[in-house]
Amino acid sequence: MSSPARVHGLPAPRSNPGSEAVLPGAFARARWERSDRCDSRLSELYQAAVAAVPKAAGRTSLVAVGGYGRGEMSPRSDLDVVLLHAPDVAAAHVAQLAEQLWYPLWDEGVPLDHAVRDTRTMRTVAGGDWRAALGMLDARHVAGDAALTGDLRSAVLADWRKGARKRLPELQAACQQRVERAGELAYAAVPDLKESHGGLRDGVVLRALVATWLVDVPHQQVEEHRAALLDVRDALHQAAERRSDRLQPELIPEVASLLGLDPESLSRHVRGLGRRTAHLFDLTWRRVEQALTRPSRLPGRRASRRPALERLGDGIAVLAGEVVLDQKARLEDDPFLALRAAVEAAERGLLLAPATAARLAASAPDPPDPWPDHARRAFVRLLAAGPGLVGVWEELDHAGLVGRWLPEWDGVRLRGSDSSVHRFTVDRHCLETCVEASKRLRDVGRADVLVVAALLHDIGKQLAGDHSVVGAPLAEQIAARLGFDAADVESIGFLVRQHLLLPVTAVRRDIDDPDTLAVVADAVRDSDRLALLAALTESDARSASPAAWTTWRAALLRRLVAAVQTMLASRSRGGAVVEPRPDARQLPPPAWAAGVGAGSYRMRVHPQPDGTRISVAAPDRLGLLADIAGSLAVSGLTIRAATAALHEDRSGERPAAVGVSWWDVDAAEVDVAGLRLRLDRVLDGSTDLGGRLLHAGTSSSAAARRAGAAPPRVHVLPGVSATATVLEVRAGDRPALFWRLCRLLADAEVDVRSAHVDTLGPQADDVVYVTDRSGRPFGEEAAQQLSAMLEQALADGVEGGRR
């Protein structure tokens, strides 16, 4: 051995770099060969050393640890070796042996990382330092007493398993600090292949976590990704001609050439490996957390072997903190089972189990075009789920489901951004924009349009030209396929096309100039679209990077939006009062409801393509709507949409007020007899719903539990009706929400003249026309007080179930 290159098996520089490397497994083979050559050289040295110090023979061994132990030597890796000896071997003999071993290596210039320890010290060191423990978990015998190495390996593994519950929190904290320091392999401008989140170090930690026997990982995937990253590092060492883990931009062309890729493909390749490894790393730590919260099995007590499934309905369940399928799942019949499972996972802040996602991708039929309403609603809920969206989307995307739902996503997946202001790739930025948008749902009337526009606002970055302009037709095409109607498709296209209008205008135009404001006002046309564009702009900027949403920029944007809002309001003043929803008070009741007598009611149930419509007519009284809504809620029916109106029934001897309401519920089949029984008891006053429903939605609803869910908003809509006060309530959809609203109004002795309930993804948008007991609208101050009371009471309901 005359040079470190020979020790490490560094191949001689090739005349045509890359021609050998691109062969499948060429880099892996080179790593094994380097390790083999090191093993051979160390064995030679060991044999020569024990010949010189015969008293050390038999109870000593050479052990490879760390990367060398795993047989993963990169061209410039250190040689991590331990001279292991039994405790009873004399120190002087061990020292002589060490000199015989290390000096030749030092003379040859080998970058040696060595230690001399007895088996007891090795265990003590491994027990006190998790870094040392991780290195020793990969210990491999090289030369000498194989039984000594074997005993050490068994003891270190046993100690690791025994102490895992105490040691893993420390390891987790260290990993988190490392990730904060080194950043994300998938997104860093100069990625660190070893230390970044998703890098080689994560792969080593995953091996150590599996060695605890507390958790398991998708082994093949993890090892394939680690091997692929090692290939990149080997090529980096070759290109840099030094030991380096940082993929510097100037080295990318040569590294890419060695790997047989073009530079852009290499960047995507590394980002993809980093993202997937980081996802599996996080998934495994979540599994560790789950395992650590379970009590360890007591000696002599048999643990239940049955999996603890929490069923969520329709073939979906939660198992050990991950969403899985249960035996009732009908994979072949339901193209949107994966979507519903994803919604349940994302809203609960859980992950979709990788095996479940893969099974769903393999079995589910392709979605129809356009999507049915229920699928579109589920998709909106997924996008609006908040931070839980990111991990779930990664799993769906890896399984290939996203590409089947949105083929256009392929063009932005892992695509780097041209702008330095962006901290994420285009696809991740779009998801982060959805997460930011989910915090602003109460600011807009159309939460569903907002989150879909957030997802698609940069979809045009895969095409040449202004991405806003070329992205709009793509977004419209996707929105139409998702089942949005023509008006909504136009709104989504507008938002994508104009998503840079507000920031560009705020920073580069004179926002005190009425002409500037007029340009923006002409583009947005109404205050609803202005609110949508403002929410999208803020979400986009916040998710790009902190530099894109400074207080300076935020202040400019808010001034612009407020000024445009004022201009839009002044334009609309003087126009005719238009009621946004029909007020049916003056209409006769439908024929089936005419003549309903005091103390009775009539109900009709009609199946719909994606649920059931229930119609109820009863003599009007304070709290009628609350009682019907409550009866539906205790029957387990989820109200998706509702309309209610007071009619004047002139079919009898005297005119009578009849309350008629239409309720769209999710269930395909309704237990009509059971519902009728409940309505009988509730409407005749023999059952009080309060006790059963007061806390509904405060503990069981994932949406309500979601951290950071925005509080409800209640607005008085001015100038909408001359004969009633009109309130708009925006709140996170949860069981019994509409009952709670109606109950609060009834308790305040407020008459509900008509109501219009809609659910837009995770947000309920309810508009109620209310009057005082004499049938008159409230004054401005009283209306504001009523609005504030409702907002506070509904917020209390979310936070603690109080009222």
Partner: protein
């Protein structure tokens, strides 16, 4: 030498930069700034909530120039930044004792 500092409306920054470059100013320091002048003290309503707009977003431009150029530079900035409305900004001038170019160690006007 003098330090010329200008506070201008954000949308006027590009005009000011172009005018200064045309005049021959080689470099400048630009900062996002917030402040108020005579128009201070009003609030606006945004999404139903009042917020304080006392601090109005502006751009701050700092240029060190030779004494002989001060009047022209101030004139160039003023013309480029002017809209004739409230909030157009301010320009002020302060004496500078010394300037050193870090790379070469040059001092005085040759470092400009």
């Amino acid at each position: 030498m003098k330090l010329v500092t200008a506070i201008v409306k954000p949308h006027k920054w590009e005009d000011v930069r172009e005018a200064l470059e045309t005049f021959g100013v080689a470099g400048m320091t630009v900062t996002e700034a917030s402040g108020y002048g005579r128009q201070k003290g009003h609030t606006e309503v945004y999404r139903g909530a009042e917020y304080d707009v006392t601090l109005v977003p502006k751009i701050r431009v700092d240029v060190v120039v030779d004494d002989a150029d001060v009047a022209d530079v101030v004139n160039v900035i003023t013309k480029a930044a002017q809209t004739g409305k409230i909030g157009d900004g301010k320009v002020w001038v302060m004496p500078v004792e010394s300037v050193v170019r870090v790379r070469t160690g040059e001092e005085g006007t040759s470092a400009l």
